[in-house]
């Protein structure tokens, strides 16, 4: 347990009073405190002469490192003074408007869903397949995200198709200009390419049909 010295003893330790000037009940404590103080080594500490040089060399090396300088330049606050002139307001507003337009435009048009095919740049295309034994025929391709249920064909029931046993399936859809790959899906399981269109390897061991709609809605 520690307790503070009496203020009179502190004055003795500071050299302001003599022990003899203390009241008798404090003298023994004051003498013990003086003995403790004399036991402490009060000689001045001397550091090796090379220490200063070593420390300063390390500091200079660190300060000269390029990355460190750049980082300090980036993270230390800088005072920036902006003086707005009247002629600057027009160009600044124009730049802000341009930036707003830039940020507001669609970021990645190529990843936009293809579902919006019925635009002014689209063309109506009729797909026909002869599949007399099919119970259901659908169309899947790049224009409907390869959804095998998205675009069903209907069995044609005109007088002309009756001659071929009613096995003609057809649908007409609006397709955007560009190139499309597709296939028919019969009964939800069998994928077949359109016999009336060029075929390409689909990369999975089967074939896709290719349809290109270019200038003036002309198909390839």
């Amino acid at each position: 347990v520690s307790r503070p010295f009496d203020p009179l003893i502190r004055r003795v330790l500071d050299g302001e009073l003599d022990v003899a000037a203390l009241p008798p009940e404090l003298r023994r404590e004051a003498e013990a405190a003086l003995r403790l103080l004399q036991a402490v080594d009060r000689a001045p500490v001397t550091l090796p002469a090379a220490l200063d040089d070593r420390v300063m060399a390390a500091v200079r090396q660190r300060a000269n490192r390029r990355g460190s300088r750049t980082w300090r330049w980036m993270v230390e606050p800088h005072e920036v003074r902006v003086r707005v002139r009247r002629w600057m307001i027009g160009p600044a507003l124009a730049a802000a408007a341009a930036l707003a337009l830039l940020l507001a435009r669609p970021q990645d048009p190529v990843v936009a869903p293809v579902a919006a095919s019925a635009t002014t740049d689209s063309v109506l295309v009729r797909f026909v397949l002869y599949a007399p034994d099919a119970r259901q025929v659908t169309l899947a391709g790049t224009f409907n995200e390869w959804d095998p249920e998205g675009t069903p064909l209907v069995r044609a029931t005109t007088v002309e198709t009756a001659e071929v046993g009613g096995g003609i399936w057809t649908t007409t859809i609006a397709l955007p200009l560009g190139q499309h790959q597709y296939a028919f899906v019969i009964d939800g399981q069998r994928w077949i390419a359109d016999p009336a269109a060029p075929h390409v390897d689909d990369g999975f061991g089967r074939t896709n049909s290719v349809l290109s709609i270019d200038l003036g809605g002309r198909t390839l």
């Binding site: 970021q107 990843v111 790049t142 390869w146 190139q179 390409v200 990369g203």
Partner: protein, 219 residues
């Protein structure tokens, strides 16, 4: 304000929504349509494609196609990776032909042409010939369609370049696959049909006649 804070505020923060949005769109389109393994690979390939200025949509479409057809995940991944390689080759060929910033449509059309057997050099030749006459995707799609019909890549490139360089009307170029198809339906080989289409008079754009067989001469 520190320079670092200014940089973050001015450059990085505005870029975050675009990047996140593109990745989110890819993820949303693939969610539930392909296995998780395929989704991870396609998202990574999509990031790479965006960084290289290549279209992302064909990669997503190929993955969706594989998922819809029930193709095993490993095969879907291989097909998407192969397509990513073709898109990169296509972009390189188009840039080599003097179009430093090719459109997504042109890159995709070039990749299609490559998939049908047209060489990288052939893609570059077609683009170089068609500059200032057609958008590059138009003759590239024609080339792909011709090759898909069975015409060799070399013959397709020669034919297209000749037609474009002799200022044949766009309709003649666009009708080439139809002419080849019609010629094949009349019994010609794709090579013969393409040759006949090349000899057709400008502006005709109609199916070629089957060449008459020479009469056997009696000894």
């Amino acid at each position: 304000m520190t320079v670092l804070a200014a940089f973050v505020a001015a450059v990085i923060i505005p870029a975050i929504p675009a990047t996140v949005s593109a990745q989110t769109t890819v993820r949303q389109r693939l969610q539930g349509r392909v296995p998780a393994q395929v989704q991870r690979v396609v998202e990574r390939l999509a990031r790479d494609a965006t960084r290289k200025g290549l279209p992302v949509d064909p990669l997503v479409q190929k993955a969706l196609e594989g998922g819809a057809k029930g193709v095993p995940a490993a095969r879907v991944v291989a097909a998407v990776q192969a397509l990513a390689g073709r898109l990169e080759t296509s972009a390189r060929a188009i840039r080599a032909a003097g179009s430093p910033e090719p459109s997504a449509a042109a890159i995709e059309a070039g990749a299609f042409a490559l998939s049908t057997g047209i060489e990288e050099g052939g893609v570059a030749r077609i683009v170089r010939a068609s500059r200032s006459v057609h958008a590059p995707e138009v003759p590239l799609r024609v080339a792909g369609a011709m090759a898909a019909l069975g015409v060799s890549g070399d013959q397709t490139v020669e034919l297209l370049v000749r037609l474009i360089e002799t200022d044949r009307p766009a309709a003649d170029v666009l009708s080439l696959p139809g002419q080849v198809e019609a010629g094949v339906s009349r019994g010609m080989t794709p090579t013969e049909a393409a040759g006949a289409a090349a000899r057709a008079k400008p502006g005709r754009g109609r199916p070629p006649e089957r060449p008459k067989k020479p009469r056997n001469s009696k000894p």
